[in-house]
């Protein structure tokens, strides 16, 4: 039996669960130390301020205890000494797929990235382990001044912009995992959209972990200047191993006055990946930030995309779906802080728990005392499909201004027998009927996705529903 067939047999229905032989050009030993942090920075030939920031973040990470909220049982299982913090698979970032090493190129071809790029994307960056191996952007966008680079190149080529914004939305001291990311970050995307430029087609980043016990710590910074707009899509997969990998990203968005940023994630890590991500955006006057966040994979996800509504008239939108299957805990949610007057926010969260999985919504919605006439609306719906599965909702609403209108509602239910009966009376099997109901449940999310992603997600969910009844 070939290696990839063996892997596929082991991973079952998880289509992205195969792995390639590891051909690294540089691989650090397991474990984290100040030397590892210095070595990463030196290897990338970074300016001194970045090295200093990394070291401060590392010290903060070491001192800061693990969070005591959330699923401590799973979280405490992370062995930080058994993680590889840097692995370089390719000596350079290719600008055409031919420049990418063949085995890595094959991986991305199997994942359908080059095909998607030709059809419907403005630019693509593909990260394999710690660094970007492929990167491209449409020429017309480049000529309009749009910068779309991997973060390492962004720091090299646009140090002034990076220095101005890096860590301003999410400082390293924000939480233990933002400190870890700041200490050992590598890869990720750097985007700057100039004033008034509207990037019509999405840009995409694809993140792949291939090696065992790998840590991936990409760092993304998106700045949309006044009146500009951009849609960024990211996808992620990893092979299934019996040992765990760690993914801890930090994403910072800055929407300057009148700008619009949409950030879409379809997270489909294998079930041995800890996915501990900090995502936050700052919205200035009359700007809009949207997080469209799908969590299908991983062992434990802790991710609460946040928006700071700093400018008057700004708006936040979060649509989040999560599927928690066997052995998974999707601890997802959203945070919105209304700092300025006349700001509005909408949060829609949907989750499905099945085969003993646990789906949690954890949110924070806050209106500051000086923010007049704010409005927020939060809706959480959850489906529990079988015995032993679990759904939780932990929303927090803090209202410090009397003119605010704030609403939150949540419901947990099972799939209605009458819905199943109706669809089966029309000739569908139980599994098909359930698949349709689940796809309908997720529809507010899928309709916001680019078509190819939506089709793929619907297929994936139908596959997950097979054999779930009877």
């Amino acid at each position: 039996m070939s290696q990839s067939n063996e892997a596929r047999e082991a991973v079952g229905d998880y289509k992205a669960g195969w792995h390639d032989p590891e051909n690294s050009t540089i691989r650090f030993d397991f474990g984290l130390s100040e030397k590892v942090v210095r070595d990463i920075s030196e290897l990338k030939n970074e300016p001194e301020w970045m090295t200093e920031m990394r070291l401060k973040a590392y010290r903060h990470f070491v001192e800061r205890p693990m969070p005591t909220w959330g699923n401590s049982e799973i979280l405490d299982g992370i062995d930080f000494d058994n993680v590889c913090y840097f692995l370089r698979s390719s000596d350079e970032t290719g600008e055409s797929w031919e420049d990418v090493p063949e085995d890595i190129r094959n991986t991305f071809e199997r994942l359908g990235i080059p095909e998607a790029e030709q059809k419907w994307l403005s630019g693509v960056t593909a990260q394999y382990e710690s660094e970007t191996v492929y990167h491209s952007i449409r020429e017309d966008l480049e000529s309009q001044g749009v910068i779309f680079l991997d973060m390492d190149s962004g720091l090299r080529e646009h140090e002034d912009i990076v220095k101005r914004y890096f860590g301003t939305v999410i400082p390293f001291s924000d939480n233990k995992f933002s400190a870890l990311n700041t200490a050992v970050w590598s890869g990720g995307s750097f985007i700057y959209v100039p004033k008034g430029v509207s990037v019509e087609m999405p840009v995409q980043a694809y993140f792949r972990i291939n090696a065992k016990n790998m840590g991936q710590f990409e760092r993304t910074l998106i700045i949309a200047d006044e009146g500009s707009s951009i849609h960024y899509v990211e996808g992620c997969t990893a092979p299934t191993y019996s040992t765990d990998s760690l993914h801890s990203a930090v994403v910072e968005l800055i929407a300057l006055p009148g700008a619009h940023i949409r950030y879409t994630t379809v997270q489909n890590w294998s079930n041995n990946v800890y996915n501990l991500v900090t995502k936050r955006g700052v919205a200035h006057e009359n700007s809009k930030i949207e997080w469209v966040d799908g969590n299908i994979g991983s062992k434990l996800t802790m991710k609460y995309p946040a928006v700071i509504l700093k400018g008057e008239g700004s708006h936040a939108e979060v649509i989040s779906v999560a599927y928690a299957g066997a052995g998974q805990h999707q601890d997802a949610g959203a945070k919105v802080h209304h700092l300025a007057s006349n700001t509005t926010s909408n949060i829609l969260s949907k989750s499905i728990s099945k085969d003993g999985g646990r789906g949690s919504y954890r949110g924070m919605a806050k209106v500051m005392p000086k923010a007049e006439n704010c409005r927020m609306n939060i809706v959480c719906d959850a489906l529990i499909l079988d015995e032993g599965s679990r759904s939780d909702t932990y929303p927090t609403m803090e209202v410090g201004n009397a003119s605010a209108h704030c609403e939150h509602e949540a419901s947990v239910s099972k799939v209605g027998d009458e819905q199943l009966f109706y669809l089966m009376s029309r000739g569908h099997t139980e599994a098909e009927a359930l698949g349709m109901i689940v796809n309908g449940f997720f529809e507010p999310f899928t309709k916001e996705l680019p078509m190819e992603y939506a089709v793929e997600l619907n297929k994936l969910m139908a596959l997950e529903m097979e054999g779930s009844i009877g």
């Binding site: 909220w69 529990i384 009397a402 949540a410 099972k414």
Partner: protein
């Protein structure tokens, strides 16, 4: 292990949990030193009466309290501390099986010294029908009220606690077991004390339990009111509703945290909770955290909601067109908002009595 040892063996409560996030234990503790169990705790005066007429046969106040089975088992900080300081001051309200007097029974607790605490245990007999108002009043720096109890099988109880303290701090800890096929309406009216911390826990450990938790909270001036309500569905075919209305004026701060927990095996559970905050003044603050943990898929439905907002402009305008001044209209709307939960707490007799008692506070809240 006795209660004092149990309390001292506990670690400082984790502020990451919502029970302690907004009002930490250190702020509520009578001396501020959480390793301390104060010696000099006086017992408040307790008396049992009726709104109208004599106390009927079949209900009595007895010194001392027994162990109650089936109580919720979560964070033991408040319960072990309260047990430790009320060992000499515990009482039982005992209600005979089949009791049905058609009267509202009033338990008055009058606290007078610097630190007072009492443990009241409710023992409600099978198929009893009881309407009980517990009135907490007096001028006391720190008052602790521990209430434990069980509703007898098939009983029907309206259990309303009214806080009318002149100032100071009230720590209220409830642990109530709802027995098979029994119905409990648990009402809270808060209009006194500068600081209130309530840790209210209800457990439906037998099938057919029915619980309706209601709150009418008047928060004014510099008050800080923090109510935590846990409802545990630990048996099949159980039903619960929570409707919590807080009117927030002055520079006050109100917090409502709810935990609705449906355990695996609680098939047919039907649970919902709703927190509503009416923000009356610019500097008032209201925080709501209704949490939900559901581990059973065969539920009728589980949900929660929270809403915060100012007095509705359209309603004010409508009342203005009917000749009311804006102050009158505002007071009327605030009263209606609080009354919507108050009316559900018990009989008309009890409702009228409570409204009369609270009318001055309602007027001052709206102005």
């Amino acid at each position: 292990m006795d209660s004092s040892s149990e309390y001292l063996s506990l670690e400082e409560p984790n502020r990451a949990v919502h029970l302690w996030r907004y009002t930490p234990w250190k702020r509520v503790h009578p001396t501020g030193n959480i390793r301390d169990i104060p010696d000099e705790v006086s017992a408040p005066k307790l008396s049992l009466s009726c709104i109208e007429g004599e106390i009927p046969d079949g209900v009595r106040l007895i010194h001392g309290s027994g162990k109650v089975e089936g109580l919720p088992e979560t964070d033991a900080t408040t319960s072990s501390f309260m047990r430790a300081i009320t060992e000499e001051s515990s009482w039982t309200v005992e209600v005979d099986p089949g009791f049905n007097a058609g009267k509202t029974v009033v338990l008055e607790i009058d606290a007078g010294s610097s630190i007072s605490a009492v443990h009241v245990c409710l023992k409600i007999g099978r198929h009893a029908n009881l309407e009980l108002v517990t009135l907490v009043k007096g001028d006391c720096e720190w008052m602790g009220l521990l209430r434990t109890g069980t509703s007898g099988e098939g009983s029907n109880t309206s259990d309303v606690v009214v806080n009318l303290m002149d100032g100071g701090t009230l720590l209220r800890v409830d642990a109530i077991h709802i027995d098979r096929d029994s119905q409990v309406t648990a009402g809270t009216i808060s209009s006194g004390s500068e600081m209130t911390k309530s840790d209210l826990r209800y457990r439906m450990g037998e099938p057919g339990g029915n619980l309706n938790v209601l709150g009418s909270i008047l928060s004014a001036n510099e008050m800080s009111l923090d109510h935590h309500i846990e409802i545990h569905h630990d048996a099949p075919e159980t039903y619960s509703r929570l409707d919590w209305h807080s009117a927030c004026g002055g520079n006050s701060k109100t917090v409502g945290t709810g935990m609705l927990r449906v355990a695996e095996g609680s098939r047919g559970a039907d649970a919902a909770q709703l927190f509503q905050n009416l923000l009356i003044s610019e500097s008032a603050q209201a925080d709501s955290i209704p949490e939900l943990e559901v581990s059973e898929n065969e539920v009728v439905g589980c949900g929660h909601g929270t809403a915060s907002g100012p007095v509705d402009e359209d309603q004010l305008f409508y009342l203005g067109t009917r000749g009311l001044s804006s102050e009158q209209a505002k007071s009327m709307l605030i009263a209606a908002f609080l009354n919507s939960t108050l009316t559900e707490m018990g009989s008309q007799e009890m409702h009228d009595w409570l409204v009369e008692m609270l009318s001055d506070d309602l007027v001052s809240l709206g102005t």
